[in-house]
């Protein structure tokens, strides 16, 4: 009986807890931005997507209690909006200016500046299909486990593992090419 009562109290507290945009949604903005940037490869568009995502998640606040993780939900919304943008852009013929800057040559053993390191990774990841890019983003950069990635991308964990394997193999090969002497 006491357990039931406690569970009821907890539920009541959660339902009645004051929610705020600033505390419950806004903290995810940078993670959302990084995923949107990874998918669209365009800073201005990624910023638009962050705004759309945050507002969309906030407008769904009556359904929050049904979500296991707010962060996963935010990232899933972000990805869907990013994919919409990409397909829209493909219809409008993407221009070359939208592609990330590709440096002329990399020599990984030289001490690279921060900026060069960032663009090295961006170049490597830009060569991957969107799903693999998103998985690398969530796994390597955001440190998410297979279950969380599967939830965000709406895939099975097995699929996520397979895509991650393929992505790493491609990165390894591309890296060997840049490196110049193969692995």
């Amino acid at each position: 009986m006491s357990v039931t009562f406690r569970a009821l109290t907890r539920l009541h507290n959660r339902e009645m807890k004051e929610i705020s945009f600033r505390n419950d949604v806004l903290p995810f903005k940078d993670k959302i931005f990084r995923l949107a940037l990874r998918i669209t490869m365009n800073r201005a568009e990624a910023e638009d997507i962050v705004q759309d995502t945050l507002i969309r998640v906030w407008n769904k606040r009556n359904e929050w209690s049904g979500f296991s993780s707010m962060e996963a939900y935010c990232l899933a919304v972000c990805r869907n909006l990013s994919l919409d943008r990409i397909s829209l852009k493909e219809n409008c013929h993407a221009t070359l200016e939208d592609q990330p800057d590709t440096p002329d040559s990399f020599t990984p053993h030289d001490a690279l500046t921060r900026k060069e390191q960032i663009s090295l990774v961006e170049t490597l990841l830009a060569g991957l299909p969107e799903v693999q890019r998103s998985i690398i983003q969530l796994r390597e950069i955001e440190g998410k486990n297979y279950r969380e990635i599967a939830e965000i991308l709406n895939l099975s964990e097995e699929k996520v593992k397979v895509y991650l394997f393929r992505a790493r193999q491609r990165i390894k090969q591309a890296y060997a090419k840049i490196d110049g002497y193969g692995l």
Binding site: F21, L112, L120, V121, G143
Partner: protein, 164 residues
């Protein structure tokens, strides 16, 4: 120093076999200053991935964002009549009533039936006069004993009332 463990981890990393903890070890290893020459080539990759995690939105982003105010989740108020408010009490009263009724019914149905047939009644004695005499004797005996205790004169019941 032996870097076999790191080499093994790296091999499993490319195969997609490493856990998150093992990947964290790899990241930590390649972030340190002195990485051996044969592993040096992966340093920019892991450092580059770490740099990616530091990418942030511009600080001006929030100034253009329409931030809604705090709010409590809406609780719907539903008007109810006085009778609806008392309905739990009615329910409780009905349950008590039903329980008592059933209890009574059960009790009376399980009790063995008593025979109240007056026509079937028979005396257990044969001589009424003998019974009367014996009864009188007993009352007299009790009366005498009581008188002995109380100190009164005895009362002769047999003389006042004729025998039937």
């Amino acid at each position: 120093m032996d870097y076999k463990y790191i080499e093994q981890l790296l091999e499993r990393y490319w195969e997609g076999q490493t856990s998150l903890q093992e990947e964290a070890i790899l990241h930590m290893f390649f972030e340190q200053e002195d990485v051996p020459a044969h592993l040096q080539r992966y340093k920019p990759l892991f450092e580059g991935l770490a740099q990616q995690a530091k990418i942030r939105l511009d600080e001006t982003f929030e100034t253009h964002l329409p931030i809604p105010e705090k709010e409590r989740p809406a609780v719907k108020a539903r008007p109810i009549t006085y009778m609806q408010r008392l309905s739990p009490l009615y329910k409780a009263a009905a349950i008590v009533g039903i329980t008592l009724t059933l209890g009574n019914a059960a009790q009376s149905s399980f009790k063995p039936e008593e025979d109240y047939n007056d026509n079937g009644y028979q005396n257990s004695y044969e001589n009424a006069a003998a019974v009367y005499a014996e009864e009188t004797e007993t009352v007299k005996f009790v009366s005498e004993r009581m008188d002995e205790v109380n100190g009164n004169d005895s009362l002769d019941i047999a003389e006042d009332t004729p025998a039937p």
